[in-house]
């Protein structure tokens, strides 16, 4: 592999690596706007000019590739700094400088590079700025708004729609200083990945309808998390202010969602705001066939009630556990243990099937249909159907609950059917109905015991995605009020039966799970890589990671 020397630091890179990527390897950041690793190189913004020895002019780092040994590059010489200054001046002369009212302020490429490479004064004293009257707030589609005045014409958005989304709604119109971004006549930016253009826009020209004016970005706490919109498990950054989630942004994971995520997933957090929240445990007085009054209760009393009635239920009929694809693997594992302890007859994980959602990545894309992030993990960890006599999700939902003396549902928002009166009535026919959940859904309202638990922004855990890849996520903020995580609640319940289950952390539960469930064998919470780890599940289309391609994969017997 050829060697390249950048600012006296030499690094070996693959032939064909461009100088921006090579620079990153030695800790040299070359400023750039139009370059994006997943888009074609156009060399338009001219911000990445660097000095390449032996070349008469400055070269754009994005389009200069290291092909053979001996290339010597400098980014710290005065001529490069001069060029960067000049370019920043060009960017800013016609930019409105409306940072105080611009959503991008705080995460803006123009602000950052102005600070680092620009000049602190203007020589554009007498002329009028170029503006695009009437093009300050053009809705390109339902989710993206364009302010042409702020645009720096890097064409990332155009190339995204052409090369990644493959829909090509956006184009470059006009010429010279009057050049404009826009949708082609009769088209609108409505592809499923549309909001990604907002992420890749280095300035505030493209803003998301959802996030516009919602929050100044410097007030946001940003935590790595996972999207729960479907089974793809896109890596996201959950951005919130004091527990109020403001937006999801895709987080780079080359194995899953690359740099992208879909608009449906981005909107999925809105559910946490639109559905009323459960805040304290509630217990219904016994008797009255589900029509007795409900009273707020303490955690201790509610859990005592749950355990007492569960232990008595076995004699009166069947016990069913209805899980959901929103449970983490650890929670599902503990549920499984609880189900074992009380001798449950049925356990299943119902999920809604939605339209196919495909996220492009380097392997040709990843597609999900199930509208929950962890059906696979929940089944592997504790909800696997035990034998043929047990009732499946469908049977339980379609009236099987009648036979049950106790039905545990986790969680209250497990599926859209939790909001259907018919299903709720059918599930209510169980003699004792316990509902875990964050959402005060119709199902929660008819339950005998309601246990308010954290949603996925408030807990740690792992999900297994459609490609059987286990991915870890961490809580972004603490759960409000009396709300506890499902894991804490289950740990509490189980510890009453066996003290060894007391006060377990998600990591400890995961490690126990890994020791017990063959698919998770060899994994540990601490060493789980940031990109996740493919599980070893026989009979699945599990992907063997590239480097190990020639090794014989171990198959659990």
């Amino acid at each position: 592999m050829p060697k390249v020397t950048i600012n006296d630091r030499t690094v070996e890179v693959e032939a064909g690596t461009n100088l921006i990527e090579a620079g990153l390897k030695v800790g040299v950041q070359v400023p750039h706007y139009c370059y994006h690793p997943r888009l074609s190189v156009v060399g338009q913004c001219r911000m990445c000019l660097v000095k390449v020895e032996g070349m008469p002019k400055l070269q754009t780092a994005c389009s200069t590739q290291v092909m053979k040994d001996g290339m010597v590059v400098r980014t710290d010489v005065p001529e490069v700094a001069e060029a960067q200054k000049g370019m920043m001046e060009f960017f800013l002369i016609n930019h409105p400088l409306d940072c105080p009212i611009c959503d991008q302020a705080g995460e803006c490429g123009l602000q950052d590079y102005s600070f680092k490479h620009g000049v602190p004064y203007s020589r554009f004293d007498y002329e009028d700025k170029r503006t695009y009257p009437g093009r300050e707030r053009i809705p390109l589609g339902a989710n993206v708004v364009l302010n042409m005045n702020r645009c720096i014409q890097c064409t990332r958005c155009i190339r995204f729609t052409q090369e990644v989304a493959g829909t090509g709604e956006l184009g470059f119109f006009n010429r010279g200083a009057r050049v404009e971004i826009g949708t082609f006549p009769g088209k609108e930016l409505s592809n499923p990945l549309a909001t990604c253009v907002v992420d890749i826009c280095p300035v505030g020209a493209l803003t998301s309808t959802r996030f516009r004016f919602a929050e100044r970005v410097w007030y946001l706490d940003k935590k790595p998390s996972l999207c729960t919109g479907c089974e793809v498990g896109c890596n996201i950054t959950m951005e919130h202010r004091r527990g109020d989630i403001k937006r999801y942004k895709p987080r780079f994971n080359v194995e899953v969602n690359d740099y992208w995520m879909c608009d449906y997933g981005r909107a999925s957090f809105e559910r946490y705001k639109s559905v009323p929240r459960l805040t304290s445990p509630r217990v219904r007085a016994e008797g009255g066939n589900g029509h007795s009054p409900v009273v707020a209760s303490s955690w201790k009393d509610s859990l005592d009630t749950v355990l007492r009635r569960l232990q008595g239920a076995k004699d009166q009929g069947e016990i069913a556990f209805l899980g959901s694809g929103f449970l983490t693997c650890e929670e599902a594992y503990l549920f499984g243990k609880l189900a074992d302890a009380v001798g449950a007859d049925h356990r299943s994980v119902p999920v809604d099937i939605g339209p196919e959602r495909t996220i492009p990545n380097l392997k040709g894309g990843i597609t999900g249909r199930e509208m929950a992030p962890n059906r696979r993990g929940a089944e592997l960890a504790g909800f696997g159907s035990s034998d043929g006599t047990a009732l499946g999700s469908d049977e339980l939902l379609l009236g099987g609950a009648e036979r049950c003396s106790a039905l545990i549902v986790c969680d209250s928002d497990f599926s859209s059917v939790a909001y259907s009166q018919e299903t709720v009535e059918r599930l209510r026919r169980a003699k004792f109905l316990v509902v875990f959940g964050w959402a005060d859904s119709p199902l929660a309202q008819v339950a005998d015991v309601v246990l308010p638990v954290a949603h996925h922004g408030e807990k740690d855990g792992t999900f297994v995605n459609v490609e059987w890849r286990v991915q870890k996520f961490m809580s972004a903020f603490p759960a409000p009020g009396q709300v506890r995580t499902t894991l804490e609640v289950l740990s509490d319940l189980l510890s009453r039966l066996d003290p060894s289950w007391a006060s377990l952390s998600p990591g400890a539960v995961f490690d126990r799970l890994a020791a017990e469930v063959p698919a998770f064998a060899g994994l540990s919470w601490k060493r789980l890589p940031a990109t996740g780890e493919p599980l070893n599940v026989p009979g699945t289309h599990v992907r063997i990671p590239e480097p190990a391609a020639d090794a014989v994969p171990e198959v659990a017997s």
Binding site: Q44, R46, T155, G176, A177, V179
Partner: protein, 434 residues
């Protein structure tokens, strides 16, 4: 100057040359026949030996350019290659190719065919400026004749070499005269230049190796083959500036038009040949090579009009479009007008050209309208520095030519505008409304 035998324009004024028969009677297509009998590499060698340099503006050695085209390794699977003839002549002041196409289309076709044989390209596109409707229809007719006469098609002059030639009309953008912008336009995309490298010789039209040559360059080729490289080298200033050259003269001269001279004729001779200055007024300045060439002052009147001498004088020969200005010309206004042109024609993709040309026009207009400040000269130079060498294609460098030379060579005129708070020259209708 001694009488000079016209070479490129020998058929101008002979309407019969428009027909295939008439052209062949004058010795036409003999060069092609000769070339087809030669090895393609030998043709390239001959052109290299002649020292022919590109007439489009950059002055790159034509033979060398052809030799960059990769050879097909496998004889059974020949590499698809293209020749694109750049007939998008849109540099302000340039109208030499138009003459060649309108009066002697077969000369161009013959030149293209020889080039195609030399680089073994089976397809040739003549990308012609959209406004050249007459030239386009003449070329279309000539192509039709050439096909019917067996010059083009499946077997060029019976040699078995297959060659198809098309006329492709542009849609009126200066930037499509830039070679990669032209290729984009030819492919049906938005006409804007590509990042180089890769150069068109490696990845050109439709991703294939492509030669791009100017009309006048290709028109020289048949003569090199018939009369030999040594004859060609005998014309001109020195080893590096050879052959006949067309000069398009416009501006304040008595007889503007296209004139053919051996390359390296002095500007004084050129001016005299065009009947001298209009109404005998004194020469103030001249642009030797089209709008993008820096302006030269009158004291450069004896400059030899070849690539290297003009470059030494601080300008460039470019397309050899000479614009002559007399003492009634406001240099600020002329620079502003040229800046307006480049601003209008910038494709808008790269930052320095898009923003810089716009800013330069605004500043120059301000000075012209008497609202300039003392710092504007330095500001203009600084903008030029920030554009120069840093734009994606050569349009940025072209745009700074007239502006930089204005500040460098006519700074006193800028100062006068600033001091008087008005333009000291008589108004002319053209630009005042802008």
């Amino acid at each position: 100057m001694a009488a000079f035998e016209r070479v490129l324009t020998r058929n101008v004024g002979k309407p019969e040359a428009l027909t295939l028969k008439g052209y062949r009677q004058g010795g036409g297509y003999e060069a092609l026949a000769k070339a087809l009998a030669m090895d393609p590499d030998a043709v390239i060698e001959e052109v290299k030996k002649s020292g022919l340099r590109g007439r489009g503006g950059a002055g790159f050695a034509a033979g060398l350019k052809w030799s960059f085209i990769p050879k097909s390794k496998d004889k059974d699977k020949p590499l698809t290659k293209y020749l694109v003839c750049n007939a998008d002549e849109s540099e302000p002041g340039t109208f030499k190719d138009r003459l060649l196409m309108e009066y002697d289309p077969h000369q161009l076709i013959e030149g293209c065919a020889i080039c195609c044989w030399a680089v073994q390209a089976a397809t040739c596109y003549i990308y012609i400026r959209g406004e050249y409707t007459k030239a386009a229809s003449i070329l279309e007719q000539a192509l039709k004749d050439a096909y019917e006469g067996g010059i083009l098609g499946d077997s060029v002059m019976g040699s078995g070499f297959k060659l198809n030639m098309y006329v492709h009309r542009g849609a009126g953008a200066y930037i499509c005269g830039e070679e990669t912008g032209m290729l984009e336009s030819l492919e049906g995309k938005r006409g804007q230049p590509r990042v180089k490298p890769p150069f068109p010789a490696v990845v050109g039209a439709f991703g294939q190796p492509t030669v791009i040559n100017n009309v006048e360059t290709l028109c020289n080729v048949p003569h090199i083959l018939t009369r030999g490289a040594d004859w060609f080298k005998g014309i001109g200033t020195d080893e590096k500036n050879t052959g006949p050259k067309l000069y398009a003269i416009s501006g304040h001269v008595e007889r503007p038009g296209t004139y053919e001279y051996p390359i390296g004729v002095t500007f004084r001779e050129l001016l005299e040949g065009a009947g001298g200055m209009l109404k005998g007024r004194p020469l103030k300045a001249f642009i030797p090579g089209g709008a993008s060439a820096p302006v030269l002052k009158a004291d450069m009147i004896d400059v030899k009009m070849d690539f290297d001498s003009v470059a030494k004088a601080g300008s460039m020969l470019g397309s050899a479009a000479v614009i002559v200005m007399d003492d009634t010309t406001c240099m600020v206004r002329s620079a502003a007008r040229l800046a307006k042109f480049f601003n209008h024609e910038s494709c808008g993709q790269c930052t320095p050209c898009r923003e810089g040309t716009n800013w330069m026009e605004l500043v120059l207009k301000r000075i012209e309208h008497g609202e300039g400040s003392e710092r504007d000269g330095q500001l203009l130079l600084s903008i030029c520095r920030n554009i120069g060498g840093q734009s994606l294609c050569a349009l940025g460098d072209a745009a700074i030519g007239p502006v930089k030379s204005l500040v460098d060579r006519f700074s006193e005129e800028i100062e006068q505008h600033v001091r008087d708070r008005a333009c000291p020259f008589p108004k002319r209708r053209f630009f005042d409304s802008n």
